[in-house]
């Protein structure tokens, strides 16, 4: 017999995964010399209505990136988080959450230069996230 998961439970799981993601990224960025600031955002979807999430702004020198939860429960993934280069809001890379696991998705237009930091499907880790930050630093707008 299949168990129906209530929307509230889905939201709780998504918020927990975001909480852990932001805590990890915040710690890694700090270790790598980036300053961090949390920004509260409101998201909404038809299933659970409006809800609050934390996004994360990272800064080092003139360079700034914004890690921002976008959607819960897209058709293929449990959730999506975008990483933008600020202030122009260019896509750097996307994080996809599926089966309790974060992986990168690299959009072709994200690779403004030849050396993309990570590959699509690569798992999020301290090392892979550090590579993303390195490339962002190298290509300041």
């Amino acid at each position: 017999m299949s168990t129906v998961v209530q929307p509230e439970q889905l939201l709780e799981g998504w918020l927990q995964s975001l909480f852990e993601l932001m805590a990890d990224v915040e710690a890694w960025a700090s270790e790598l010399g980036w300053s961090t600031r949390r920004i509260e955002m409101q998201l909404s979807d038809s299933e659970v209505g409006k809800y609050q999430v934390s996004s994360l702004l990272l800064a080092k020198g003139e360079c700034e990136i914004w890690i921002n939860p976008r959607d819960r429960n897209t058709s293929d993934y449990a959730g999506v988080v975008e990483i933008y280069r600020m202030p122009v809001m260019d896509d750097v890379v996307t994080l996809l959450f599926k089966h309790d696991h974060w992986t990168f998705q690299v959009l072709p237009e994200s690779c403004m230069h030849s050396d993309c930091a990570v590959d699509t499907g690569e798992s999020l880790s301290r090392e892979s996230f550090g590579k993303v930050l390195d490339v962002v630093m190298c290509h300041e707008v």
Binding site: M41, W66, Y84, M86, P87, V88, M89, E109
Partner: protein, 147 residues
């Protein structure tokens, strides 16, 4: 009322995402309709789809600028005790002066505004189009000064 620039940054960015997904959908439908025009059901034709695809970026640029302008008016209302200027040009210049936004950033926004006006009023000026991505970069850079 409190102004949150991050909300407006996301709104401007969201318009570009909608444009990309709508463009993808129209092109996918066009590919199919060119092979089998009957799938369109008779209410419109392949050439209508082609026109939609051609005008899509301009349509979304008008919408993106509208989100931007609404954000500027919200900022004005939140930070000043008088009504915002009715002319968008004055609104941009007023906020530029208030936030000490550099001339190149301000001029980039005016370029988008002028191009938006050209699209809305169908002026027959010979002007190089400004892409939606470039518009977003200019508008978001300006909005980032309001953080």
């Amino acid at each position: 009322m409190r102004f949150d620039s991050y909300i407006w940054l996301m709104r401007v960015r969201a318009v570009e995402r909608e444009y990309l997904s709508t463009g993808f959908a129209i092109n996918a439908l066009l590919d199919r309709a060119r092979v089998d025009p009957m799938i369109l059901g008779g209410d419109f034709e392949v050439r209508d789809l082609v026109r939609s695809a051609e005008n899509l970026e301009g349509t979304y640029l008008v919408r993106m600028f509208s989100e931007f302008e609404t954000g500027l008016r919200a900022f004005w209302d939140a930070t000043r005790h008088k009504e915002s200027p009715s002319r968008t040009q004055d609104l941009i210049n007023g906020i530029s002066a208030q936030r000490q936004i550099s001339d190149p950033q301000c001029n980039a926004v005016h370029a988008v505004r002028e191009y938006r006006n050209l699209l809305v009023h169908e002026r027959e000026e010979d002007r190089i189009p400004i892409t939606l991505a470039r518009s977003r970069r200019s508008l978001c850079t300006f909005l980032s000064y309001l953080r």
